[in-house]
Amino acid sequence: MGVDLSTAVGAIRLNNPVMLASGCCGYGTDMEPHLDLNRLGGVCLKGLSMAGSDGNKPPRIWETGGGMINAIGLQNVGVSRFLAEKAPKLRTYDTAFVANFYGHTVDQYVQAAAALGEEPALAALEMNISCPNIQEGGIQFGTDPASVYKVTKACRDATKKPLWVKLSPNASDVTATAKAAQDAGADALTCINTMPAMAIDVERREFRISNKIGGLSGPALKPIAVRIVYQVSRAVSIPVVGIGGIFTAADALEFLLAGAKAVQVGTALFVDPQCPYTILDGIEDYCRRHGFPSVEALVGQIKDGAPMPKCHE
């Protein structure tokens, strides 16, 4: 029996549920020597800003138990250079490219959304709201529902492209930021971004990365991400894209069963650039073994039973 691997994320239909995560595949074509992008459901490009960014001083990464910390500092060539030099190369592919973008003010977000929204090579835009709002004393947009609503609404009005909001796990109640993004007109929610983390070189008494704090990714993050995908997909009606520590098909299936319509693979690409193939094959095999005619048929199919208790200890 043939399995229908395609899955709809709002208005766009992906060829399959396996995407590459932003910041882990450069500008897409950087993966070329290692991966055939046309075999993927989609590719989220490195986070872009209007002005571009040199990024943080090295060292920028450190491996931790079950994961890694990165503080790249969102190094990117800037929206206009991206549109001039990178985007044209993407037009010939048969996969969904999603431009990840950010700003430090609502205006910067809006300008980036408007400019990127004109690029035909892009299937959707993904807002990275895990960034400090320099007009609000540097607290991250993503941690407060009100500012999530504000910045999402502003971008929504600035572009017709499908708009995905990438949530931060670092919020007291992620379902609140999720609802704020939905109310502001987001087409989908990506769950989740990295968790703020720190590592110290005790012998040198120095931070492992120059930025002191970086984002935790990898298997260590997975159980947190699955929990958030489960909570958010039940709190909103727009599609959720799952991400965090996905290395294997079983990992991806946890997210799909929890309620994600697609998944993104990030850190795992550093260990094996071709793991998306194995993940996709494993998902197809699972559908066959469990009698699911399509990937969409298994989304959210965890046996749920009783309503979820509150105390988690």
């Binding site: 950087d30 001083k57 190094q75 260990v271 071709q274």
Partner: protein, 258 residues
Amino acid sequence: MGVKPYVVVSNKRRGPYATLTVRGGVDRSEPGQFYMLRGDWGADPMLPRPLSILGEDTGAGTLRFLLKVVGEGTRRLYDLEPGQKVTGLGPLGKPFPRRARGEGKPAALVGGGVGVPPLVYLAEAFVREGTSFTFFQGARSEADLVCMEELGALGVEPVITTEDGSVGEKGLVTAPLQRALDAGAPAAYACGPEGMLKAVAKMCWGRVPSHLSLEARMGCGYGVCLGCVVPVLRDGARAYERVCQEGPVFDGEVVLWE
């Protein structure tokens, strides 16, 4: 290209160093390139580790590396036994440029510690291509000299300096290098501790090209994570470039030491 499976043929240990030989699919590489290597220990450590190619035999399908234990990843590689599996992604990175000007005079190859292997591989190419060179190896002490067998097999007599004078000239490798430059060495190829690379760049500055193989902590090794950058001077402006992509070999005159 994707990661390829390899089997450990041998892993000769000497103190904290080990010469690791693995067999598997070997795509022709150039001196200065590296592999991202990982054993099939479960999830921890997670990331592969970058190792310079010491040598390869495309016929036999073998790759050789020289590694030193500095942390968990290298310890795991050090502990590998013949028959165990490893995976490798490579060859990666830009090799040493090999058009040494002034063929007459010998070029200077300058290595220290785990910076020696890529230069041994380069020496092999120079021998094959008939490019004359002098090999300089600096070490803290006799115990820290590496790849002496490999150099012997190439018929290369390295100029050795040790900080404690236990063997060769007492002091830093920069002293004999200075003499070589004064004698007209057309270029320097160096890999080793940052202090050494800095000194080599300084000595060659404005005189002869220096080709430095740099190190940086790596996430992916193939250009997508931006974790391995170093600051360089490009078109008159400061910019971050990827050691795994634009490097590991950089022109000594563009590297910014911060």
